[in-house]
């Protein structure tokens, strides 16, 4: 089981802040993204955005990063704090 979380305008666009995903692991962040699109084709225009950032277990990573069972995978727009 992988815990997936979304933030900011992506959360608003998907109307989802969190979901669980069953995937055979280890896989990559890109695999998680693809699985989400397979389950929710209407998310294409928001989730296929190349500017999106991702984190695995609260560390920012690239989309080829590994994901293991029990990990938390986060997707969010470029950050704008400070």
């Amino acid at each position: 089981m992988i815990n997936v979380v979304f933030f900011a305008q992506l959360r608003e666009q998907l109307k989802t802040d969190q979901l669980q995903l069953e995937l055979s692991t280890p896989c990559t962040v890109a695999d998680v993204q693809q699985a989400l699109l397979d389950n929710h084709p209407q998310w294409q225009e928001f989730l296929a955005n190349r500017a999106l950032m991702c984190a695995v277990n609260q560390d920012m990573v690239q989309s080829d990063a590994m994901v293991n069972d029990g990990n938390e995978v986060a997707f969010f727009p470029p950050v704008t704090g400070g």
Binding site: V5, F7, A8, Q9, A51, A55, Q58, D59, M60, E72, A74, F76, P77, P78, V79, T80, G81, G82
Partner: protein, 165 residues
């Protein structure tokens, strides 16, 4: 919601990091950097405020969302990186979240060092990295409606100057 702590065991007991809804007091933060500290000749701080005009909009307020499980971890990593690059004695970093209004304080970064150059560069570095690496998102309340702030390419470029050091 308050979530504050000394940064990590490997750092000075004087380091402080907090992600919080409530306001902060710059005079108190400055006093903490200075107190019982006769070794440091230089204190630099940055304070970020909600300004009235941003990206073409008349701003009346700001909502700051963050990723609670990640925020402190990301900020602690930035402080750690700064301390590995410059001889800093003390670092204090506070970032507010939630609803803010015009002229409110958003973020404070204060550093002390025995060297002026180190204090300036480290404070600047921490803010540049925070802008690109810490999971905060601003939604602005404007007279035309509410908008998520767009990330700026210049903030991306601001990181370049720290690459070859």
């Amino acid at each position: 919601m308050t979530d504050s702590s000394n940064v990590s065991d490997s750092h000075s007991d004087f380091d402080f990091l907090s992600v919080q809804e409530q306001d902060f007091d710059v005079a108190f933060e400055y006093a903490q950097l200075r107190e019982n500290n006769s070794q440091d000749g230089a204190i630099v701080f940055f304070s970020g405020l909600v300004r009235d005009f941003n990206q073409g909009n008349d701003v009346t307020g700001l909502y700051l969302e963050h990723y609670p499980a990640m925020t402190e971890k990301a900020l602690a990593k930035i402080i750690e990186e700064a301390k590995s690059r410059w001889p800093l004695s003390r670092v204090r970093l506070i970032h507010r979240v939630g609803q803010l209004y015009l002229s409110d304080q958003i973020v404070f970064v204060g550093v002390s060092s025995s060297h002026r150059e180190a204090a300036f560069e480290a404070c600047h570095f921490i803010m540049d990295y925070l802008k690109k690496k810490a999971p905060f998102w601003k939604k602005e309340t404007t007279k035309k409606g509410d908008w998520w702030v767009e990330s700026l390419e210049k903030d991306e470029k601001a990181l370049d100057k720290w690459q070859d050091q």
